[in-house]
Symmetry: C2
Subunit: 161 residues, 2 copies
DNA sequence: GCTACATGATTCACGTGTCAACTAGATGTG
DNA sequence: CACATCTAGTTGACACGTGAATCATGTAGC
């Protein structure tokens, strides 16, 4: 099922849409990240880690669970946690069940920083992203993202042989 | 003119669209860049610089013209050019009219690399991006990008007092 | 138990981005 | 001409991302 993708190159209109889309939303991402940084001294990486830990039972996760949850490479997470630990946002402690592993624990300070960042961050998303569009356009964007995810076969069950 | 942006936070639907959009198109960008790297051993930064130089008269530009053209910070361009020069894609030569400046010249090798990269790169854009959508959806994406550009006041004349 | 392999996590080298400081040549004003 | 100031470009410190290599611990097969 599905139509065969045509073998031609993109037209100049298609190319222009690609370029406009990627360049524009790159700026959007940068603006929202910059607001997060200014408002809360957090990078988007910090925020993502704090969000995941905050939702976790006991505000702690095994490092590899965390990596899987936010879909990051392990080495990426390792570096990120190192920086966050230096700033006191998280703590790493040895894991009782598996001496190889580490539990990543949200500190009180990390928890406070996350709670304080949420509202202004959501606000920035509203101001910069949501308010740019009509409800129609926003719905179209949602559909486009869904179409893309299906095109790329994301959303597929992650552990299939 | 224009409706006042409401002061409420984004709804969970709006937030979901934001997250789906940014995460999905981050993956799209990564895939297309990875194809460019595999097909042509070029990063997207390399490609952008080569594209600009290739279009320039004499396949050369002053460093600051180049920076302005592709809208990069000067230090970013400086580092990029250093790496590209090491690989033989561009050459920097002193500038006759202004001894401070440098002319960035596309080398024969850089020109060849760019020409060889174009088709596979366009092909990747078609495969990964364009073919994910119906023509309607693609048009909607173009409109969304335009709405966002206008929301952010991009497209404004760059040199207004 | 011992060897082989799988797994959790870190480390290293490198490419890449930002911002602030710096160098050196241009320019404008007395 | 002397001085302040502007401009072109580089450099350095740091944050961040990737992939390969490394190290230690777990687990399976004998």
């Amino acid at each position: 099922m599905g139509t065969a993708p045509s073998r031609r190159l993109p037209t100049s209109e298609e190319l222009a849409i690609w370029r406009a889309h990627i360049e524009t939303f790159e700026i959007v991402r940068a603006r929202i990240e910059s607001r997060l940084q200014q408002d809360s001294q957090l990078s988007s990486g910090d925020y993502r880690v704090l969000l995941a830990l905050n939702e976790a039972k006991g505000k702690a996760l095994r490092s590899s669970e965390l990596a899987a949850h936010i879909e990051w490479e392990r080495s990426r997470l390792s570096g990120q946690l190192g920086r966050m630990e230096k700033r006191g946002l998280v703590r790493r402690e040895p894991c009782a069940e598996d001496a190889r592993g580490a539990r990543v624990v949200l500190t009180e300070e990390g928890s406070r920083a996350f709670r304080a960042s949420t509202r202004p961050h959501l606000r920035a998303i509203k101001d910069v992203f949501v308010d740019a569009f009509t409800p129609q356009q926003l719905a179209h964007l949602g559909e486009a993202a869904a179409a893309m995810r299906s095109h790329l076969n994301l959303d597929a069950a992650p552990d299939q042989p």
